[in-house]
Symmetry: C3
Subunit: 274 residues, 3 copies
């Protein structure tokens, strides 16, 4: 049962080492705490190995990366590999600059990721080195739709086989796939793209879920994506009821992460196996 | 009509390259999304040219600058100039240290800014190299009042002529001026100075508005300043009604940016041409 | 009277130079404004001396430190010492990596701190170089309880004598001690550990309070710790009443900091001298 995934996070309070961008770092920390994990942010090359050693998993996010932090990501990633920790990558803006694309490729070469989560454009960049990225949003031409869903699932499974990582593609429809099995998730709300950080937070939560459920990383990723979508729906209901805007939406989204229960998950999940 | 300015932002979703401080960067990102734009933050010297090339405008903010990011600001600024993109400067704390003042002057020398927005103290530093700055707030002796308004407008117009930039001075009374024409705006609420980031957010929004209204940068800046002030008033009404404090005020300010309509703008605008 | 401490902050609006981590920096800025102070963040080695000179106190927080910012902390700290400004240290994660521990020790060697605030694990690291730290939370085995309270107070007083700094240990029970006198504070709510930044914010507020009450740093620290705890209780009441979660809790905590009055302080304070 996927609800066990949530329970294991709350019971284990996994400590997640985060090397992430300075735009949404506070949201990631608060989302991790709300979800039942515990964050520690550390990005200096002289401490990342020690920090990652005392943690249960590693979260690498390449938004606002720079030469200093790329070195730290590589060093932390290799250490976490050695230790067998789950490692999760958010290739923010891969494809938007050659530096980001190269950083993503270097990470993929040198670090074995348990999960890679991005929008379809970022994941295509990961796959091919030829994607295009408009900011941090998926290109319109690259959105996952009911029409191209089967093809995209096949693409995700193939990429998972190639990278040996679980592939998570988020958008209007979310796909969570390993080389054999995929979850299709239809939760969420369009307003999630009108605040910054939903993708970053989700990837951070996956790092916590994977740490608390080491035998079931695919289920852990799927349950987390689904929960985030449900929270996006519940938060939308709250702002509609109160007549509020996008900043309240961000607040309520994290509120809901701290309030989601097994019952809310079971009632709300729109998830199927493909 | 100034309402067209708002409409053009929503319809064009301009992508704004932001090189800004780490204190209010999340607020800037969420404010841009609320306003109808889309943010991308990137400050490494190796990617800023590519990133600014895929964007519609550039926002440079010198709060928490350092030697690494100063180089990035200059490089991005020159590239955006070449491309003819609107470029907006927030000289946070210019005058507070010789490093910030010098960075501001170097930027002015090497980059042609479409708009420069600051408090009166920062703008005086820009003008003369002799201003004084207490933190990020205007000195009491330097506030714009009804008594010195005409003189300050004349100062702003002259500075605009000298810098070839639109000058925006914000405070209890706001001035938006080019070398010929100025808008005087009397919207806003004193509580806006009791949260961090209102200035930074406003400057970011101006970058989006200028990108979506390339033929009318003066109107774009004025409509944005006026909208921010109206949202500051609406947010104040909400916290008064709910008995809340300054953090809720910040949330509701961004909420209002996501909810402002042409009607609310027309009803609320306290704007005159001088 | 401790209420005078709060009054002095509001009346003096002390400008606090903050060199702090990028995770909670926005919370620190907004908390300082809510409390009645004014923040300025600056961490480049070329400007920290000038910035600290125009401020009333200095706040150093070693979360997300790096080689560049360690140099800035030392330089700013020495300058603030020379100027006789109150200087407050938050040794976030001291003990979690040798780099952080060394940075904390170097700061203690070269800078005279007015106040040092941490959880028991961080403070033990400060004391001995032999503490253990799990992320930013105190080890379970190291929590302050009614049983070990007297011993911990004695430890704090001894450490204060050794460091010549006021020692603030926060947790379920808070201790504020100099070498002779200690305040024991039993305000607060467990939910304060489910959001990031309560410790960082508290230390920043102490820097403001110490600046506005230069003759009474012990009382200033105690009144601030107590106020933060009261606000944690009031914010909890609000979210319970509204059925909200942890992100609303963060918002309401800062709201309450902007709304606390002498009356609320007097009614709510659970403080004793030991």
């Amino acid at each position: 049962m996927l609800t066990q995934i949530l329970k294991n996070v709350k019971e284990n309070t996994p400590l997640v080492h985060c090397i992430t961008n300075y735009v949404t770092v506070n949201d990631c920390a608060n989302a991790l705490l709300a979800w039942g994990g515990s964050p520690i942010m550390a990005d200096d090359v002289n401490e990342v190995e020690e920090i990652t050693t005392i943690c249960s998993s590693l979260y690498i996010n390449i938004g606002t990366l720079n030469e200093r932090t790329i070195a730290s990501m590589l060093k932390a990633g290799k250490k976490a590999c050695e230790l067998g920790h789950p490692i999760v990558l958010d290739p923010v803006g891969a494809g938007a600059s050659s530096m980001r694309t190269k950083a993503a490729f270097d990470l993929l070469d040198q670090v074995g990721f348990t999960v890679i989560r991005g929008n379809i454009s970022e994941i295509k960049t990961i796959a091919s080195g030829a994607g295009s990225t408009k900011g941090v949003d998926a290109d319109i031409s690259d959105q996952v739709t009911e029409e191209n869903l089967d093809a995209t699932v096949a693409f995700a499974k193939k990429l998972s086989e190639k990278t040996k990582s679980i592939i998570v593609i988020t958008g209007a429809i979310d796909i969570v796939a390993d080389h054999q099995k995929s979850y299709i998730i239809r939760n969420g709300n369009a307003l999630m793209s009108k605040i910054t950080g939903t993708g970053c937070m989700l990837t951070a939560l996956i790092a916590a879920s994977a740490a608390a459920n080491p035998e079931r990383p695919l289920d852990a990723a799927a349950a987390t994506v689904c929960s985030m979508g449900i929270c996006g729906e519940l938060a939308y209901d709250r702002i509609q009821k109160e007549g509020k805007g996008t900043s309240s939406y961000r607040t309520y989204l994290i509120d809901c992460l701290s309030q989601i229960t097994e019952e809310l998950f079971k009632e709300g999940a729109k998830i199927e196996i493909k």
